[in-house]
Each structure stands twice: as C-alpha cells, then as structure tokens.
Symmetry: C2
C-alpha cells in the first residue's frame, strides 16, 4: 500500500502499469458501447469459465494457503484466504446473479420537453474504469469484475500478495469467459502482485485512466487509500453504528432488534457498536436486553447511569468512538431524542443508525435529522447490505456524500449524460 517514489530504474514497471490503464480505457469504451445482452452474455461466460477452471483455481488457492501457513499467518487470515469447492460455487453464483440483474446502462432517469420543443433525456452511462484494491479474500476479484461489467465498466484489480495465485487464476478464468463472449479480455485486468509501487500508481489514477477507486478491506487499507488517492474513492472508513431505543419503543422489538443488530455477526460494518436508551424507559428496557446480550457472550460497557441500572463495566470516553467489530457493546442513557441525535452526530461515522420507537413523530424526526447514509426505524442495523437492499450484489458501502452513498451496487457504478433531441432549434 505504500506509494514509493518511482525512479528511473522503475521505468519498465511504470510502462507496464500505465499500459494496464490504457488497455482498460480501450476496453471500457468497447464494453460501454456493447449491448446489455452482450454484457449479460459476458457475465454468464465468466461464470461458466470459473466453473470450468475450478480445479486450477482451487489448486492455486491451495498453494497460497500453504505458503500462508508456512509464513505463520493467523487462522482468521487463512479462513478469509481459503477457497473450497463450496465457496467457489458461491463465487460463481454471485457472477450469475449479476448476469440476472438488470443492466443499468441506458436507463432514462428523466425525460422532459422544453417550451421550444427541445426534448431532454438524462440517461445512465458507465463510469469507465474502476480500480479495485482488496486484501486477502480472492473472491472479491470475481465479485468486483462482475459488478463492474454489469454497469458497463472495465476493472483493474489489485489483490493482496498472499492471495496472488488465487486472484490470478480467478481473473484468468474471467478473461477467458469474456473472450468467449466476444468482449475484450481487458474488461478485467489484474495488477501483478509483485509491483508494490503499482498501488501508488493506481491511487494517482494511472494518467487519467481510472475514474474511481474502491478499496475492499480493513481500516488501514481504506485510510491509506482515502489519504493518498487523487481520484474519487467509494468507501467507508468505519461503521460506528448506533441503535437508539426511544421511550415509545416496543420492548419486545427493542430486545430482538438490539440482539440482532449487535450479535448476528459482530464483524460486519453494519453491526451496532453503541446502544442509546431514553432515560424514561431505561429501567424497563435495559435490564432484560443487557441480560440477553451477556447470555450470548457480549461484554457491556456502560455510562454512569447504565452501570447503575445493570452491573457492567464502566465505559471510558474512548468507547463512544470505538468500532469494536467484536462482541462488545457500549451503552449510554440519554435525555430524549435530541440528545440521542447529538450523540450520533458527534460520535457516529455516517454509516447506519437506527431508532426503535412506536411514536411516529419520533421516527420522522430521527429519519429526517440523522445525516447518515442509512437511517432505520424498527429494524436491525445489520440490514446495511446491498443484497438486503435488493441491489443484486454490492462492491461495498460508501459513507461519502459524493455520487455513491450507502451500498454500492451496479447502479452506483454508473454516471449519466444528457441527450438533447432537437429539430433545428437555435438559441435566441
């Protein structure tokens, strides 16, 4: 992820990586002008090629896993790296899902006619070239290439060096599929893993070739990409999500939603990290929820009032700004919805925040005022997921306000242009 200065001795590398950019641009033009049916055929052919080359991919992955074990990497890391026949079927299924989902290119977003008879259409078009920088999960290569192609884009993929063989085998299969469907192979390209400087070049945009960078991985990867990139980035640095129990909350819903929001999977970005409870209802709501969470193995860290209502560790100032991604929950008692929303505005990450309430005015105020990508009433924050939105795949969740916000699906990988249909109009 470092971006060392490129010296004269690196000229061969510079030329090779710059060539990736030019090839991607040329491929992007062709795939943009292809028909939706051709893009669908390309996706189906990619899926078929991944199936046909399953053995090669799995054996490349075995080598990556063996090397990771030799190097003493942690089991959690190896679990992310390892492919099984079943996981590979999941990869193929995701590509088929992209093939089955609607092609966004050419969709007319608006269509109006001016008094002078000039008809104006706003039409979805592909973004161009998407740079994807990911870590150990090799399946990201196929997922990302497929979603980019669905939206008419070319992709330049850069995986972690520990999964280099797996990624190379997956992308090779994808490229064979593209060729079989009559699309340019360079719609999906992989950056040779040995070129560390290549990431720096990608973040500079490869001489204008890359339109947007999507980092897929942990906080340190995302942070470096956000700091160094000279092209737009679709990402979220963290998901410091809140669930707020309003005084009007239904206790049964509050219990079920809080347990799910925290404990369904603790390592996802939509997991709740802080629970806020209205003071007037805390005595009723907190103890059963706290007990149930503890029973499921969740450690609790409370503000002074929460500690008085249920035995738990005392939270420090740091807890309110910590994305645990672990079975730990911080709990704060608040003096009503204004204080809850102020807490979220101050400590939140603009990712996903939920209210549990029966009072429609409280729900409306929360949903309108909280300025996060996803705001939820009476459901689990773990619904922050492109699949759960019905997007047919996502490449990540963005918390920036520019262009893509929330789950980034195929639609969010497009831009638009205006078509003006005249009959000889000139401007007075």
């Amino acid at each position: 992820m470092n971006a060392p200065r490129i010296g004269p001795s690196d000229s061969a590398l510079v030329a090779a990586v710059a060539r990736l950019g030019r090839q991607a641009k040329a491929a992007a033009t062709m795939v943009r002008n292809a028909s939706p049916e051709q893009r669908t055929a390309g996706l189906n052919a990619m899926a078929a090629a991944l199936e046909a080359h399953a053995e090669t991919i799995l054996s490349a992955n075995e080598q990556d896993v063996a090397q990771a074990r030799t190097e003493g990497l942690k089991e959690a890391f190896i679990d992310r790296l390892a492919l099984s026949p079943e996981r590979l079927r999941g990869v193929v299924g995701a590509v088929r899902e992209a093939a089955a989902s609607p092609d966004p290119v050419g969709t007319v977003l608006a269509d109006w006619t001016r008094p002078n008879g000039l008809r104006i259409q706003r039409v979805r078009t592909p973004l161009g070239v998407i740079g994807v920088i990911f870590e150990s999960r090799p399946n990201v290569a196929a997922d990302a290439a497929a979603l980019c192609l669905r939206a008419g884009n070319a992709s330049i993929l850069r995986g972690g060096s520990d999964s280099a063989r797996s990624t190379a085998a997956i992308v090779a299969a994808c490229r064979q599929g593209l060729a079989a469907a009559g699309l340019p192979q360079d719609v999906a390209q992989v950056v040779p893993h040995t070129d560390r400087a290549a990431v720096g070049m990608m973040l500079q945009g490869l001489e204008g070739a890359i339109d947007v960078i999507v980092p897929r991985g942990g906080r340190s990867l995302v942070q470096r990409v956000q700091e160094e990139a000279r092209v737009p980035v679709f990402a979220h640095l963290e998901g410091l999500c809140h669930t707020y129990l309003h005084a009007s909350a239904d206790p049964t819903k509050a219990l079920a939603i809080t347990l799910n929001a925290k404990m369904r999977r603790v390592s996802v970005c939509g997991a709740t990290e802080t629970l806020l409870i209205d003071r007037s209802a805390a005595e009723v709501l907190l103890p059963p929820i706290a007990r149930a969470l503890q029973d499921k193995g969740c450690a609790l860290r409370g503000g002074p009032e929460a500690v008085r209502l249920f035995p738990m560790a005392a939270a420090t100032a740091e807890d309110w700004r910590t994305e645990y991604l672990a079975p730990i929950l911080s709990i704060q008692i608040v003096d009503g919805i204004e204080e809850a929303m102020a807490h979220i505005a101050f400590y939140g990450s603009g990712h996903t925040d939920a209210i549990v309430a029966e009072d429609p005015a409280a729900i409306e105020a929360f949903l309108n005022t909280v300025d996060s990508a996803i705001v939820i009433a009476n459901a689990s924050t773990q619904f922050a997921d492109g699949g759960e939105f019905g997007f047919g795949g996502e490449i990540g969740i963005a918390t920036g306000k520019m262009h893509a916000r929330g789950p980034v699906g195929a639609e969010q990988l497009t831009t638009f242009k205006y078509k003006l249909l005249g009959s000889g109009q000139i401007r007075p």
Copy 2:
C-alpha cells in the same frame, strides 16, 4: 489562488478561516433541517434585502470599479465587475427565481418494499457546505448563495480581490435577509479578500467542513482548483465543443445551427469550436456555411480538404485542441460518423457535442457513443446551459463524471440517503 504554506505567524488567519468552516457546518445542519417553506422564505428575504440595500451595493461597486480603473485594468474586466441598477435587478430576479423553483430536499427518488416487509426509500438530502471560488463578477455571490440555500446547503464564498467591496456588500445584504427570515446568517459567509492563504485552506476543505468546491471563472482558476483541491470539485476546464454535419444533414438546419453554435456568443463554454463535415456532403454543405460565418466576422481555419473547398487559412495541429472563445472556427472534413466520433473522443473536452443529421441511425449512434456530459441532435451547442434545461439557475457546468455532470443546478447540489421503515425486522 496560490496556496502558500501556513506558518506559525498565520495562526490568527488559520483560526479565523477555520471558524468560517465550523460556522458553515453548524448553519448547514440548521438549514438542512429547516422546512422547504423556511428556505423559500429565506430566499425571498434575501431578494428583498438586496433590493433594500441596492444603494449601498452600487456605491461599493463604484469604489471597486474606480480602483480597477486606477489600476489600469482592461475594459472587458471592468465590464464583468461593474453593476448597474439593471444588473442588480437581474441579480434580485435570479434569487427570486431560486425561491420560486422546487425545493429538492426530501424528494423521494425511489421507494420499494423488500419481501420481508422492510420499506426502503431513497431520499434527496443536502450536500452540506459548498465552497464557491469566483473571480470578478460580484453577482456570482448572490447567485451561488441562493442556489446553495435552495438545495439546503450553506455556502462559503470567496470572490476576487478586485470585487471585494461589491461582494462584501452583496453578502451582507443576503445575511440580513437570512436573519429576517429566521435562518442562521452563516448560511452565506464571505472569506475576507485580503487572506490569500484562505483559498488554499478552502481547497484543503477547512478541516472537513467543505463538501465540494465550485470554481467560477477562467481556465487558470479552474485548473488550479482542480490540481490543488483535496475535496471534490464541480467544474469544467474547457468547453471544446464540436458540431458534426452528417451526410444526411438538412442543409438549412445545418446552416442555422452552425451559425448559432459558433456565433451567438463566442465566449460561452457551449460555443462550438470545431466543425466536422462528412466528406460526401462537404461540397454542398461547406461553402454556404463558410460564407455566412465569414460574413458575420468569423475567421476560418480548415484542414487540407476544407481549404480546397473554400478559401480559408490552414489549420495547424494545435487548432483541433484549442478552445478559442473567439470568432474563430476550425473545420475538418471527416470520412463518416466513426471518424467524426473518433475526432471528438480524441480532441474533445467531454462538455457538449452535437450532430446535425436526418438519419435516425446516425443520430442514435452519435448520442449513445459520444461520452460527453451533453450530446445534442439537431440543435445548437449553445443550449448547454442550466437555464435552457429548465433548472432554474445553475452554478456552472461540470464535465467530471462524479455526482454532478452537465449543468449544476439545485438538484445537483444534493446527495441522498436511504430510509428503512421496519416493523421489527431482524436479519436472518
């Protein structure tokens, strides 16, 4: 426009400009949560205050103009700088137009329900804080502040030092109007013109306060902003627009459209700079158009074939990449639509390009394939304008593909969020 390093001796400036950012953020939160009616009232009060303070504004402007004359600035510059009672009425009218145009905030862009009953709405929300950097035209201050407010945003305005008194007087009036309507004055703030380093700070985003920068001015301003900004920029560097006459073009339309596209106003970004003509129709189309252009005072520079068909200067390679913004037109004969589109892809700036044709297949191919913000069939490129689109004002035209593309009106100064309306859903 330079961004000198800020040393310890500038700490007072740093503190003052950083304060502008914090104040804008606080004002943005309030104006975002205001009702559409409150924003409309704010705009009408701004217009009324500009009218009430007309004398102060005009007298401040007289001082700016007097100083500009003393400093020997060019008449064209002074013309951009000078306000008259009539021009000021135009400024007031633009603010009233913003008040009368629909409030984009809260518009539901999509609304669907998932199989689990979870209802998902995609809703327009303000971007936050817009930084506007402009040159001599003081009316930009009112235009921009009004458009930003219409979309629920706060603005930080930085005009050229030569129009400092005018800009300060205009923004002071706007702020009085905001206060009269019960909105925070800091919805519109002006950066003291004496702080050159302030522009550099704005381009760094004022510690996260500025969400997007809009430069309004000449090429050198836009280029510096694009190069130095660490926040997104809505802009176009140049409008190198083409009009392409297809073999099937109606000669009467071709003549009228070309004359208008080049000569209606030569200094606007939507003015055509290069005319492309199909070889098979050039003998018929070119001579009358060339004659009419020359009669209107337009200098012609042709490729070898154009020169043979009509007496004109020979174009050099530089001509195809030059945005003249002057009564000069370069003319190239092409071998059909593919060559025309290749010329546009290579030399164009992605701003606005038009085809004149009667053949529907040629029109479709051109509109689909040319990857510019605005593509036009059978009308003048000078329709590239937010007002002509019916946007009720624009803050500029963007050629970037991210977020805003084409004319930037109030809608393009918004983002969106997702509202999830549940009834207790938890994620399996």
